[in-house]
Symmetry: C2
Subunit: 351 residues, 2 copies
Amino acid sequence: MSRSTRFLRACRREPVDCTPVWLMRQAGRYQPSYRALRERHSFLELCKNPDLASRVTVTAAEELGVDAAIIFSDILIPVEAMGAPLAITDEGPVLSAPVRDEAAVEALRVPEPARDLPFLLEAIRLTRERLAGEVPLIGFAGAPLTLASYLVEGGNSKTHSSLKELLFARPELARRLLDKLARAVSSVLLAQIEAGCDAVQLFDSWAGILSPRDYRTLALPPTRSILEAIAPTGVPRILFATGASTLLGAMGESGADVIGIDWRDDLGEARRRLGPGLAVQGNLEPACLFLDEVGLEARVRETLGSAGPEPGHIFNLGHGVLPRTDPARARFLVELVHRLTARGAAGEAGR
Amino acid sequence: MSRSTRFLRACRREPVDCTPVWLMRQAGRYQPSYRALRERHSFLELCKNPDLASRVTVTAAEELGVDAAIIFSDILIPVEAMGAPLAITDEGPVLSAPVRDEAAVEALRVPEPARDLPFLLEAIRLTRERLAGEVPLIGFAGAPLTLASYLVEGGNSKTHSSLKELLFARPELARRLLDKLARAVSSVLLAQIEAGCDAVQLFDSWAGILSPRDYRTLALPPTRSILEAIAPTGVPRILFATGASTLLGAMGESGADVIGIDWRDDLGEARRRLGPGLAVQGNLEPACLFLDEVGLEARVRETLGSAGPEPGHIFNLGHGVLPRTDPARARFLVELVHRLTARGAAGEAGR
């Protein structure tokens, strides 16, 4: 067994030679190679240039020695393809035409990926070639609620009050928006899988703004419809949300194969709540990469201990790599997880 | 029993004639009277003018018919008095000299409230006079972790990565900053109580960025030291944090008398986790005020049902009133809570 199969086997809760690991935002500003590219290209240029997007993807996986690559892109790329003008600034994304009424919802179109996102599919094909089967490739998209928040708020938001006003005061219109986003995301993920992705992750960054009651009513149905739409492909489906401690039960009913756990939940407790039919991914506090190697190892052992010995754990951070992380420390983390979890190795006893 | 005692009795878990209610951000942009004042005065001008701050405080309590007033101010006012230059923009607070090294931490001074925050204490004295004992007055401050985040990040932050870098890479310096903030907050709260506040609330808006493990090590000790410092005054102490579902157990050990529960937790479950020795405050999803009266009543009944019949519940939203809330709907909510919980009233059976 090797890097080529470990991640996919863990997604399916099959035994592995050691715990697979990859890092959310493993390609990003903390890497000198990435910063060098960004000096010459904007973020969106990188996303839309298949050669560059693919190089960023492959370089990150190679530099870290992780067990999966994830295609370099952004959850808002499909939203732009739906007709929403998008800019990425230092402060975050700006969608200059917030979607807040019926006409704006109607004007959004469900993209045809081959026509509207050819660069993304080409980047995936190129990446598959360059990875040469060494590690699997993860595709991804944003979940409908999260995409709706960006569309309705016009960017990041602290209170998400415009989105919440839509959800609570105009539930029918909100449902139409979420349904359209679900159809868009389904088609984009299916196209990514057809282009060569071996697994997909749905990011629901803002799911945690809803109580379990409202998440179940408003956000879970469109999420479930996406996960159902891609089920026939057989590729593992990961659902990740942040600040979603109270939502874990509902997320477990989404149809996902793997639930991504953020850094605030206990992995063992999350596994107990989710039951044995689901794999989990996570969940080291990203700031632990600011600790020295001894401190980091103690925290990694805690995370592994909490995950327990049962198959079906993919090691990851509980959120993306933070910008000022030392790349050497991130590499050390990957090696450490492999070493501590190698079957039969001394490290295993230490868990 | 009346509005003058209901809130304080509930804080002490004593029986009440009906459930007391107030709303976080009950003074704010959703009110025409507040918007009219803001056309002529900046936010900080309002905070620093005792007459205006007091009028805003009293008007909000009177317009809504709530059972407590909360002094109009901002959690960053004491931070400015520590020497950090503060501006409040439409996008949020800006602290133009982020505190990230030893010299910057040393330069912060623990304020002397009578000298450095006379406007705040005068606003409290004026408000007490104007309230004439009709409703109690709540003072407040930010908890050390939350204030540290603003100081270190220089404003709002999505990832709080600079704060986390300080906490994890330079724990000793972080502790010095948090300790100094704890001393500052203690002295400010003691002065507020001396000036006439009947209860105090500590807002830990960003506590939820930490896992329980890190919250206990880093954020809980300075929070506990504040709550201990004001214990001898005998005024009820409320601790409120957002996104803190996983932290409730630790918050229950803070020494607070009342724990504010955000809208994502189930109030009954929170009470079970906290045990019978603590009162709870909360926790209606603020966006429920966008529902019609029938929809809102159903949600209020759910919240009351979840809180249960035991004494020690203060009704509130699970976060601040959202800006586009209809003031009439907010008034309706307050009356509704009183009506549905009036002892012996028909409404009680409906819970």
